[in-house]
């Protein structure tokens, strides 16, 4: 099955990267997180309640809503700051992309690990710009805020289409669909990955390397 993919392309200052990526991914995860499932008996469960909070950005004129889960925020922040550091390092090409991938697991026979099948991928492709004056920074603050507004509206539109979501599993298979490691919230299984190579370098060699790497990792 092919995963749905969404791509956002943005250019901004280095210090805005963390907040911009977090605002997009948190907004997506807000939809893709449910309350904790509590099973009473097989076939019957109750769903917990998702809390939310407003987050103000420091370097962008923007506020977004995300799940009020400290652990989820930590996971996201850790991954995003890895990307941000790589992107902003001196030997970085100045552009890169980070993906939020939702997947479900499929059990394999014993010696093999379960197979991960992605069903939705959100990618943010970033290009860094350098600004000279404080005035330019102020304009950029607002501009990136406006761009993120468009992205949030687009995410809303996508969520409103009610596209494919993995079927609600029974208790035994809950871990194949949801990440149950969070104490307060139950997001669909997701992972983050990033590259800082410029997008034009997806040559045949790279693709082959990726293919081999992925095959070996299974």
């Amino acid at each position: 099955m092919n995963a749905r993919t969404q791509l956002f392309e943005l250019s901004m200052e280095g210090r805005q990267v963390d907040e911009a990526v977090a605002s997009i991914f948190h907004s997506v995860l807000f939809y893709r997180s449910l309350g904790k499932f509590k099973y009473k008996q097989e076939g019957s469960y109750s769903v917990g309640t998702v809390g939310y909070q407003d987050v103000d950005c420091d370097f962008i004129d923007f506020t977004y809503v995300c799940c009020s889960s400290v652990h989820l925020d930590q996971t996201l922040k850790r991954e995003i700051s890895g990307f941000s550091e790589a992107l902003r390092s001196t030997d970085s090409p100045g552009s890169g992309q980070i993906s939020l991938e939702f997947f479900q697991k499929k059990k394999n026979r014993w010696p093999f690990q379960p197979e991960c099948i992605p069903w939705e991928v959100w990618t943010v492709r970033l290009e860094l710009i350098k600004l000279a004056t404080e005035h330019e920074r102020q304009i950029c603050r607002e501009k990136v805020g406006d761009l993120l507004t468009d992205k949030i509206l687009y995410i809303t539109e996508v969520m409103n289409r009610h596209d494919y979501l993995p079927k609600m599993p029974n208790q035994a298979e809950l871990d194949l669909i949801f990440d149950t490691s969070y104490p307060d919230i139950q997001p669909y299984l997701f992972k983050l990955s990033f590259t800082t190579s410029s997008p034009s370098s997806t040559t045949m060699g790279n693709t082959m390397k990726k293919l081999i790497k992925e095959t070996l990792s299974i």
Binding site: L34, G35, V47, T49, D54, S68, L153, T156, P183, D184
Partner: protein, 407 residues
Amino acid sequence: MSTLKLSMQDKKDLDKFTRFLALKAAQIIIQSRSGEKVSTKCKPYSSGTDWFNLAVHEVPEVLTETKKLLIGEIVNVTIPLCIEISLKTCDDELMVLEAWSLGILPEQSDPTMRVTYTIYNRMGILLKSLLSVSRVTPAYKLSRRQGPDSFIICYRIYLGEPQLHSLGDNYKHVRVGQLCTPVGTIHLSVSYRTKMTISPTHAGRDSIMLKSDHFHSDLSPRHARYQQSEETSKSLSDTIKVGAFVVNKPVTVNEEDFVIPDVPFSSLLTPRQTSPPPASAAETTSTKTASTIIAADSSNGNSERLTNDNTTSKCNSQNGSRRSSCSMTSANDDFIMKTPFAITNTNSDLGAFYRECQSAPQLQAFMEERTLAEQVGDLTKQLETFETNMRRYEDILSSLCQTENNN
């Protein structure tokens, strides 16, 4: 009808869900405009008030107000629930910023939709969309900046169509989301204002409006007039002035309208380029595509002004700002005033008479020589009168300051 297929229990559930959707949506919208950051906790076990697996605070005031509207019935099939967000300044000026509306379109229904599970979940998604969208419209930023000294954000809940005309020109419409139910499609949307200026007519009542461009020479019409009179060509048509408050909105008239058959004075209506030097005439003709006629204002009697198209484009600007009206008088003035019964030769007596009328007559004081003693005596007399009338002047001044400034 599709609703007939619904079991009683399903219908009851759907009504209940829709009712709670409306209650929660109202809470989310109004809380988002409170100016404070909202934060609610995740709960592993939902309680009775936690609908749609979403922890929404309940503001009692909002709850009672929404409940009052939805009493008995759920969101009416034809009349949507509307929440209007407006900005109120400390001078009690009100500006509507947003109109949120939640309604049902009965035409589009989906009888196959499972009421209990799918609809409940999708209502949760709709509320999440509402949370996300409510933070990105312009009113959110304004609401976070509100304060008793500047402005406050108010809300109004009512059953009825959103009043979009109160949102000004170029308002935007965003669809938050929709979901199909067996009784119709529930839709949630917002329309918001994009022009955030309060018009100057609503300026503070107790402050005297000062014209900031008073000494800005290139903005004043007087300057424009001087510039014009400096031009070397002094033909009658060049010296026509535009009254200060003339409505400069031109009325477009077809060229045929100017043609009056068998009128002896039809030569008056011929285009201007017959009189000025032929070199410049060639230029004007090239830009001239159609003629426009402007009804003269009362001060100019029954005379009419003709203007060619390139002038028209300038004064056509809709904003009617000071600058635009100036550009009309200063640049490329091609106004022609045709004197009734006159030939087009501008050096005639009539032309001279007009020019005389246009320049201010010499003051009598300068025409007759007076002795120094006469002048000084006059001055003291004047000073005396001023002093005796001082009380009156002060009264006038204070009354001017007290009256409401209608500027």
